[in-house]
Amino acid sequence: MTSFTLNGKKVTAASEPDTPLLWVIRDELNLKGTKFGCGIAQCGACTIHVDGVPARACQTELKSVAGKTVKTVEALGTPAKPHPLQAAWMKFDVPQCGYCQSGQLMAASALLAKNKNPTDAQIDEAMSGNICRCGTYPRVRAAIKDAAATIRKG
């Protein structure tokens, strides 16, 4: 049994300790927002935060998060109280198929948590680990800048 904090709640997972956190979150703890895309940390669809740092859940073993704090897209915001990034994502209608967008949002929220005014180069650096096969990149970039402006205004 492995215990950790998931989206603000203490959880205990029964999966084998070497199970990738991705499958624990999705199938044992039943939060489906975090996606499987490649299994080798190349696409970013499974991006989550572990103690506030973006991580690839497909390459994070369950045992490595014992006692730690894990956050998924489900805790980023709610329809009633969206994260500024989620509000911007809706404003710009960023998603197409939508499959990568949880990962995009988690990568972007980690960026804005430490940099409220990212340059294009900094956005490139933070977001180039996240593949969007639909090619929504122009809108992802626009929405990050819009959300950053919202956050700066407070």
């Binding site: 299994g39 994502w89 209608d93 180039s128 096969r133 970039r141």
Partner: protein, 705 residues
């Protein structure tokens, strides 16, 4: 190719014959609390006023979850914010008239639905009004239907829900009155996508998210050589893995079934399978392309004309002959959601849920694989995590159904990315050979274009050998006014597994035509834009988009040092499109800084979704133009994941400027043409910058060394 060709063609094949289901069953997700009435197959109204509009097309990012309801809502007069949307089940009524089957593909959704869905909305509106007229003892012309309410003289008022029971008993009017497009309040507007919130809060249900009670998980080992069969397997070690419930053989391989996905995957890793690899084990990319070249040169090959020749190329007098050959490699679809489907055998009444572009095919293929009738099988469609043509295929659907039948329990089959990359239905290799005769001024007096490639339609729909595959003729005949032209097709089966890939043969044919046009312009010493314009005197829609793209891109104006522009033009899916790409090259690596797109696609349903699709199709095409291809050695696909099949990322995504032509022509498709036009636009820019003409894609460092 024309729509009629495509439709007639598919009608004659298995696609149209499979699973003709009558009647309409509403997906669980769309069921309302109240009693449900179904005036027609597109509109469901419950007496609690819940209105559900059905999309007969799968949502894979292209926006049909919004654009299809927009067309219905325009005539039904309902607020899109107050409706629900459901993806339709298999049903003959939902057939895509442009493709002859219930298929989402070919950039057809709006073109097929443009009239049909407005009629569907207007029918129900007229039925609701007629029901109110009877109830109030008046005539329909005294009533109005708006915002989900019918109102009449003296402040009479009834919601659509309150009229639904009466309305659904009425005869469906065959020719309801449609609005004049100038009165549209929804169609043509930048309506927000209805699926965005769910995709932003992580609640949209994709195939991979489906849960059934008591569900097990499966991971399937397939032969590393496509088409290979299981000779024998040893499941002892797999069965010893914790959580593994069963190991079962199906025609495509050996499935490990477990209580969790990861246990199934671990079990699969412990599995030992001996394969009969079959004849494909001898294939390589080089040998297959050699086969295509031989077929092109072989006098015994059947030469199939594409369209009618113009003039007589053999008699055209020219000062000089210019020849060039272009080749394109295999490509993978690689949608970000790996193939998956969830199946419940359900004692011979299977329920299959997942991401498919082809409901009717899924039903028919599963029925055939399970020895059942199509009507025994329920198909429910989730959101698709990308499609691009891959989810037209039915392999993963039948596999899930077969595994569930074998274990007698609900099973979710999930492919790995490696499974997806190495077991795709790949875009075919192609050889395009062009030959032009030009006069002393360099103007073309004749053009011969020979396409040699593999037919997807022979494989997918049983197209007879040596007959025209209309998909292979796409964009082969360009717009340019040349007095003598001849276009031919040679179909060669390499034996490799091929599929419809976003924009299909527009990719190969437009790459060849538009690269060659630049080569002819260079020979004539003319600007590529002016040269094209000179050949478009009686082609106003082509000339217009070319001009708009050039103007917006600043064609001819100075650029920063080390940059150049390239231009390309095409008609595809009834959409006219020109693109200008602005590039630089550093150490042999091409960077695309800006792409300008002008499109004339007739009536537009939602300009914002159109722009999104243009951005998407350009970026999708850039992966094939600059990043990756699929290569085969000893029958094995060499690329296995996104580390070896690199796709375009944020730092490589160009600025994209878009000009849309206002038009009242019939709607064109927009999901695909951009993918085909960006390749030659980039190749032409690279040639303009470096002087090197690269006649294949992707353009790599090696090409520019």
């Amino acid at each position: 190719m024309t729509n009629t060709n495509r439709r007639n063609f598919l009608k004659g094949t298995g696609a149209a014959a499979g699973g003709l289901m009558l009647g309409v069953a509403l997906p669980e997700s769309a069921k309302a609390a109240g009693t449900l009435y179904t005036p027609n197959a597109w509109v469901h109204i419950a007496d609690d006023n819940t209105i559900t509009l059905l999309s007969a097309r799968s949502e894979m990012g292209q926006g049909v979850y919004t654009s299809m309801p927009m067309l219905i809502a325009e005539e039904l007069n309902v607020d899109l914010k107050k409706i629900k949307v459901a993806i339709a089940p298999p049903g003959a009524v939902y057939t895509n008239a442009l493709l002859g089957a219930q298929i989402t593909g070919g950039s057809t959704s709006v073109r097929d639905g443009w009239e049909k869905l407005r009629v569907a909305g207007a029918q129900v509106r007229e039925m609701l009004v007629a029901a109110a007229a009877t109830r109030w003892n008046t005539t329909p012309d005294k009533l109005t239907a708006a915002n989900g309410v019918v109102t009449g003289p003296g402040g009479k008022r009834a919601t659509y829900g309150a009229l639904a029971a009466d309305a659904s008993k009425l005869k469906v009017p065959e020719k309801p009155k449609l609005k004049d497009p100038k009165d549209f309040t929804i169609v043509g507007k930048r309506i927000k996508r209805l699926d965005t919130p769910a995709k932003v809060f992580g609640t949209a249900e994709f195939g991979i998210d489906v849960v059934m009670p008591g569900m097990l998980y499966a991971s399937l080992e397939q032969c590393p050589v496509l088409g290979g069969k299981v000779k024998s397997f040893d499941a002892a070690k797999a069965k010893a893995v914790a959580g593994v419930v069963d190991v079962v053989q199906i025609p495509d391989g050996v499935a490990v079934v477990a209580k969790s996905y990861w246990q199934a995957k671990k079990g699969r890793d412990a599995l030992k399978v001996e394969w009969d690899e079959g004849p494909a084990a001898a294939f390589s990319s080089a040998s297959m392309m050699e086969g295509i070249r031989k077929a092109s040169a072989d006098p015994a090959s059947k030469v199939i004309p594409i369209g009618k020749p113009v003039g007589d190329v053999s008699k055209a007098a020219s000062a000089k002959t210019i020849k060039a050959e272009y080749t394109l490699p295999h490509q993978a679809h690689a949608p970000l959601e790996p193939q998956n489907f969830t199946a419940d055998w359900n004692n011979g009444k299977p329920v299959l849920i997942g991401p498919t572009q082809f409901q009717q095919g899924a039903q028919g293929a599963a029925a055939a694989a399970l020895g059942l009738k199509p009507e025994d099988i329920t198909i429910k469609t989730t959101f698709l995590g990308g499609g691009f043509g891959r989810k037209l295929e039915l392999d993963f659907v039948t596999q899930a159904a077969q595994i569930s039948k074998a274990v007698g329990k609900p099973v979710k089959l999930i492919w790995t990315r490696e499974d997806d990359m190495t077991h795709d239905f790949y875009r075919p290799q192609a050889l395009n050979q062009l030959e032009a005769g030009v006069d002393a001024a360099g103007n073309p007096v004749s053009l011969k274009h020979k396409v040699t490639s593999q037919s997807v339609t022979q494989r997918a729909f049983g197209l007879p050998k040596d007959t025209l595959d209309p998909f292979m003729a796409e964009a082969a005949v360009a717009a340019y006014e040349i007095p003598n032209t001849q276009h031919d097709l040679v179909i060669h089966d390499t034996g490799h597994r091929v599929g419809y890939w976003r924009a299909v043969s527009h990719n190969m044919n437009a790459f060849a035509n538009e690269s060659f046009m630049d080569e002819l312009a260079k020979n004539a010493g003319k600007d590529p834009y002016e040269f094209r314009m000179g050949l478009l005197k009686n082609k106003p829609r082509f000339a217009n988009v070319l001009k708009l793209a050039a103007e917006k891109a600043g064609w001819g104006k100075p650029l920063a040092a080390g940059r150049a522009r390239g231009i390309a033009l095409m008609e595809g899916y009834d959409t006219y499109m020109a693109q200008v790409a602005e590039v630089s090259v550093t150490n042999g690596k091409v960077k695309v800084h800006r792409v300008t797109v002008a499109a004339d696609m007739g009536h537009i349903v939602n300009p914002d979704i159109v722009e999104a699709q243009i951005q998407s199709s350009v970026n999708f095409g850039l992966t094939a133009a600059l990043k990756s291809s699929i290569t085969i050695e000893k029958g094995r696909v060499q690329q296995t994941n996104f580390d070896t099949f690199e796709v375009l990322r944020m730092d490589e995504s160009p600025a994209i400027d878009i000009v849309l032509v206002k038009s009242t022509e019939k709607p064109g498709g927009i999901g695909e043409p951009g993918t085909a036009v960006i390749g030659p636009a980039v190749a032409n820019a690279v040639a303009a910058l470096t002087g090197k003409r690269v006649r294949t894609l992707p353009i790599t460092r090696k090409d520019l060394a």
